[in-house]
């Protein structure tokens, strides 16, 4: 599959977009000879759930570390709610909540004490943070285990506790760095529900390796590789832009698959063809070619013709390649 050259529409008109919670301009980070981020540009709208995808080593973690003020860029600018990451680190850290890849829970403190410590680090008053912690433990389904130590929790419960910790101070921007890695399907879905329940109340910036997670949760998705932004849009926009081709699966009722596969293969509008038992899968240049195909199949005993939905994974693989990254 081909991905046509395109201008990445990351700087869309601000007339139609809500104000940006995150603005990144020409952000570059080099470690010696390695460029982890290469003139990266991005805007994330306030209140949206934004997904950042990329293979290992694409630069996602470097980007999150710069945005959360844990690391300084080599050049370019990044701003959170209008505050520059280089000059206003302390102010930015008041506004953000961070769920890192590692749980980073304090195993010597109970679940409640973990939340209390972070509330104190954020300078919250005791009465205020006790109320919020009660509410968060309830929301995350951890009230009954609040006096237990995180080591006794399942992976899903630990993840929920980390998310609760990131929410104690009611952040305006929440960074979730691979929040469901290593969780079972039930726990993943539970985390998705919590993330969805936050939608609109804050901006959520999510990185994940799970493409279904991005598809389920995110309003907009960016795909990056080799430190550069290579695609940006909604899930549907990204799928629609996958080289413009359309894939149909034709299932024959009889034993005509071989004969018609040969015939379809000679047609100029068919880009690619493959056959499996009684089915033939054809990739057409455009959906308008379907009429020609139907005409060619006149007289054949056909059980089903189905449009094959593109998946986000296909888009991702077409953009970043199939080679396994170190």
């Amino acid at each position: 599959m081909r991905w046509p050259p395109l201008a990445v529409p990351c700087m869309e008109s601000t007339d139609t977009m809500p104000a940006a919670a995150i603005v990144i301009r020409s952000l570059t980070k080099a470690y010696g000879g390695l460029t982890a981020l290469d003139h990266f540009d991005l805007e994330v709208a306030q209140g949206s759930i934004f997904g950042l995808l990329g293979p290992n080593g694409a630069g996602k973690t470097t980007l999150i570390r710069i945005l959360t003020t844990l690391m300084r860029q080599s050049s370019g600018t990044a701003a959170i709610e209008g505050l520059d990451t280089l000059r206003s680190g302390l102010e930015i850290r008041r506004l953000i909540g961070v769920v890192s890849q590692e749980n980073s829970l304090d195993r010597y403190l109970t679940a409640r004490e973990n939340l209390e410590l972070h509330a104190r680090l954020h300078g919250l008053g005791r009465r205020l943070y006790q109320e919020r912690i009660d509410a968060l433990l309830e929301l995350m389904g951890l009230s009954g285990r609040q006096n237990d130590f995180p080591d006794t929790f399942s992976g899903g419960m630990q993840r929920r506790l980390v998310i609760a910790r990131a929410l104690v101070h009611q952040p305006q921007v929440l960074f979730l760095d691979e929040p469901t890695t290593g969780l079972d399907p039930q726990s993943r879905r539970a985390v998705w529900e919590y993330v969805r329940s936050l939608a609109g109340s804050m901006t959520i910036f999510l990185t994940t390796h799970y493409l279904d997670e991005a598809e389920q949760l995110c309003n907009r998705i960016a795909i990056m590789d080799h430190g550069r932004l290579i695609a940006l849009g909604s899930t549907q926009e990204l799928k629609d832009r996958l080289s413009g081709t359309t894939v149909y699966e034709i299932e024959f009722a009889g034993n005509d698959a071989d004969q018609y596969a040969g015939l379809l293969g000679t047609m100029s509008c068919v880009v690619e063809i493959s056959r499996a038992e009684r089915s033939v899968t054809v990739t057409l240049e455009c959906w308008e070619c379907l009429a020609e195909i139907v005409t060619a199949l006149n007289g054949a005993s056909i059980r089903r013709i189905a449009l094959k939905e593109r998946t986000l994974e296909e888009v991702f693989i077409s953009l970043t390649g199939e080679m396994v990254r170190e």
Partner: protein, 252 residues
């Protein structure tokens, strides 16, 4: 600089200490007490008087001091390494609105507090089970040494825990640097045992200033200003170094 973060982290560390205080004290008292029984009682009859004092009395202040500074060093080095490399809690602190300096100062205070508490515990045990006695006002002079010394070793622990990523390296540094510095600084024998040419060099060590100065303060009630200044300056220099090194490491 606000010290809200320092206070929050220090209170967290004190909560953990409070929960494990009994096992901590048993472990920390056992080592110097064994030393005292083995050397102070076992060797006393062979050694006789040292600087005019029975050998047991000679080593008692050093054992208290050693316990305090060892506790300060060990708490700082292992706590920082564990929070940085295993539990990743340092990173979770760093995304809150506190400065890196607040984190490192909290850890220095924690090491310092461990040192003082454990030193006092060992002192009380030695006081209870041995004939070692001193006038109460000498305790004040002694603390003038012990407080900056605990801070010095706590800062040294912070530096080690910051720059060393492997636990075995931490153990090696303790074996080849920290323990020799403590043992060769007149803890178990008077400095006069060294060859004359070596003594001036040994006196340059901050640990010599600490053990010699602290002993004289506790036993004789004497303050040696040069020794005290040396200990205070060492604490100050390692404090600045610890903050700078930790900040630099965190920005990598």
């Amino acid at each position: 600089m606000m010290l809200r973060g320092t206070l929050a982290i220090w209170l967290r560390d004190m909560l953990i200490l409070r929960r494990s205080i009994f096992s901590e004290l048993v472990a920390v008292v056992a080592y110097p007490l064994t030393m005292y029984l083995a050397f102070g009682i076992g060797m006393q009859s062979y050694i006789g008087l040292v600087d005019g004092n029975p050998y047991g009395l000679f080593i008692a202040p050093g054992l208290i001091t050693m316990t305090a500074v060892n506790a300060a060093y060990n708490e700082s080095v292992w706590s920082l390494w564990f929070h940085r490399r295993v539990q990743f809690t340092i990173e979770s602190y760093r995304v809150t609105p506190i400065s890196v300096s607040e984190i490192v100062i909290a850890k220095i205070f924690t090491g310092f507090t461990h040192g003082i508490i454990k030193g006092v515990a060992v002192g009380l045990v030695i006081f209870a089970i041995t004939p070692f006695r001193f006038p109460l006002e000498h305790l004040f002079y002694y603390l003038l040494f012990l407080i900056p010394a605990s801070a010095f070793f706590s800062c040294a622990g912070i530096i080690s825990g910051t720059v060393m990523d492997k636990p075995e390296t931490i153990g090696k540094v303790e074996a080849v640097l920290v323990m020799p510095l403590i043992f060769m600084s007149g803890l178990f024998f008077p400095l006069s045992s060294y060859p004359v040419d070596v003594i001036p060099w040994v006196k340059l060590l901050p640990t010599t200033a600490l053990f010699e100065g602290a002993r004289r303060a506790l036993v004789a009630g004497e303050i040696q200003p040069a020794y005290l200044l040396q200990v205070v300056l060492s604490a100050l220099i390692t404090f600045i170094a610890a903050v700078v090194i930790f900040r630099r490491k965190m920005s990598e």
